[in-house]
Amino acid sequence: MSTTLILADFIGGKNTKTTAELATVAARVGDVTAVLLAPSGQGASYAAGIVQGPIKNILIIESDGFALHGVGAAADVLSQVISLKNPTAVLIASHAFGKEVAGRVAVKSNSGIITDAVDVGADLTVTQLVFGGSTTVHSRVSHGTPIITLRPNSVSADLVAVTPTIETLNLDISSGSKKTTLISSQPPQQGGRPELTEADIVVSGGRGTNGDFSVVEAFADSLGAAVGASRAATDAGWYPHTHQVGQTGKTVSPQLYVACGISGAIQHRAGMQTSKAIVVINKDPEAPIFEIADFGVIGDLFSVLPKATEGVKARKS
């Protein structure tokens, strides 16, 4: 059987569940080899973090250059692997880093690229949801090795236990791919909560929180959810920019999205409209966010959220 490559998705040194989702889709096309870019000496411990997903082989490339030189270095090495393995397709997580790596790899290998896939068929037909989820598009790469980025949380992962063979390759990052250098890095502040794009449930707060995210966080914690924010909230400095959901923030498609004190501007909707279920708490019945709500509460978030938090805790205990 042919080989399909996935780029193992590590954020902050941790394997994300997107890796298993990528493998699930890639396994429809061919035997899955996960390419693992790790810091020097840490390939084995990183590989040990990949425990689920239909992965046949893990290919480790170690270098401190990946952290130091970012997208350019990852794209360079991944392209070298493509030349060596001649895969049927390459699948990468659809976030800022993944998409940029995919773009550069597409140029290097003169191959077509499709981003933001929500599904990929065995024949490499890609499904995308466009225009805020109002339109389904099917497309296919027509030249070169298909380079496809898959949105986290779009497919349900095959969570088989992995017992992959492990191979280590010595590949050098070409000097031309080291044009950008890291000075310092501050990992995202998650506060022990799941990563936003990966989370099954996201609870977001907007201007309606008036700067007090404690009720939003408490509700999120009762659900084991990630916390998101509108731009109004991140601009005001109430919540870190890295938590912004929307056109210029993260795109999320969790099982459940709870929008608290968010009006539903088109730019916010662009980042959450494909969520499976949407719950809204807003005191203005005219807020446009109600148009896309599966369950809407017209009310004050400061009275609804604490009660709902107690209600969820009571159910769970």
């Binding site: 933001d116 109002s134 598009v137 296919r140 030249h143 310092s184 991140t234």
Partner: protein
């Protein structure tokens, strides 16, 4: 410094978008300058102003580059009225429905021809929403890639650019040398409104029109193709309750019923 800004004319994000023969219908909707590119223009002007200006005889020039149909001149005029000095518009029948590979081949060609030090882009076009063009331009030109910047500082003497990059991996400080491709996020600045003087001045600025032949580029194939597009059923109308003290309980029951908890 010679600074280029890549801008795109896109369908108005408030307008309803539809597919026509497998492509986004760009003809029957209002078109505007991609709003994220306004931040790129503003940042280019700020960088120029901080290092000797871009007026007549100034130390810098800001040139906007766009690939798109004739009517993209509307978006270009806006950039010129904000204060950009010059503009290049690449239009060619062979570019209808161009994908990211074709777009970046063309933009990289125009950038090479212009001999720029810095290229500044938005992070995303509101229609394609790929966020790949800046990285792909950097790859094609073999320049430093400094993308998703929420802050940029430029040192023209040392030919060095330092940015704060904000992504899912956190907040990174990074640097590279000229020539470099930068993309900026909307947190970086507040784009200026064109002044009356700016609008008048823009009318006198010329837009250089080019086609593929003028750039000595061929786009021999499409790298990807749309098979079909279909509207999805609208979200079924949901249930809305007005809080009378019991809404939280109803909300929890909804979550239980939908097996979300």
């Amino acid at each position: 410094m010679k600074i280029a800004v890549c801008i795109k004319q896109v369908p108005d994000s408030w307008a309803e978008k539809k597919m026509l023969n497998g492509y986004l219908d760009r003809v029957n909707v209002d078109a505007v300058l991609n709003d994220l590119d306004e931040y790129a223009i503003e940042e280019a002007l700020k960088i120029a102003e901080a290092h000797g200006g871009n007026e007549e005889g100034g130390a810098n020039t800001v040139t906007v580059i766009s690939m798109g149909p004739e009517r993209a001149t509307e978006a270009i005029r806006k950039a010129l009225s904000m204060g950009a000095n010059a503009a290049i518009l690449i239009t060619d029948p062979a570019l209808a429905g161009a994908d990211a590979l074709a777009t970046t081949k063309v933009l990289a060609g125009a950038i090479t021809k212009g001999g720029f030090d810095l290229v500044i882009c938005g992070t995303e076009s509101t229609d394609a929403r790929m966020s790949v063009v800046p990285a792909m331009i950097a790859e094609r030109l073999n320049w430093a890639q400094l993308t998703f910047a929420s802050a940029v500082s430029v040192d023209p003497a040392a030919k060095k650019v330092t940015i704060t990059r904000v992504t899912e991996s956190g907040v990174d400080e990074m640097f590279g040398e000229f020539p470099a491709v930068i993309s900026v996020v909307e947190k970086i600045n507040e784009p200026r409104y064109p002044s009356f003087k700016g609008i008048m001045a823009a009318k006198k600025k010329t837009i250089e029109n080019m086609d593929l032949a003028a750039l000595d580029i061929t786009v021999e194939n499409a790298w990807s193709a749309v098979i079909d597009a279909s509207p999805r059923p609208p979200r079924a109308a949901g249930l809305t309750v007005t809080d009378d003290g019991t809404a939280a309980d109803q909300l929890v029951s909804y979550l239980v019923e939908k097996k979300l908890i």
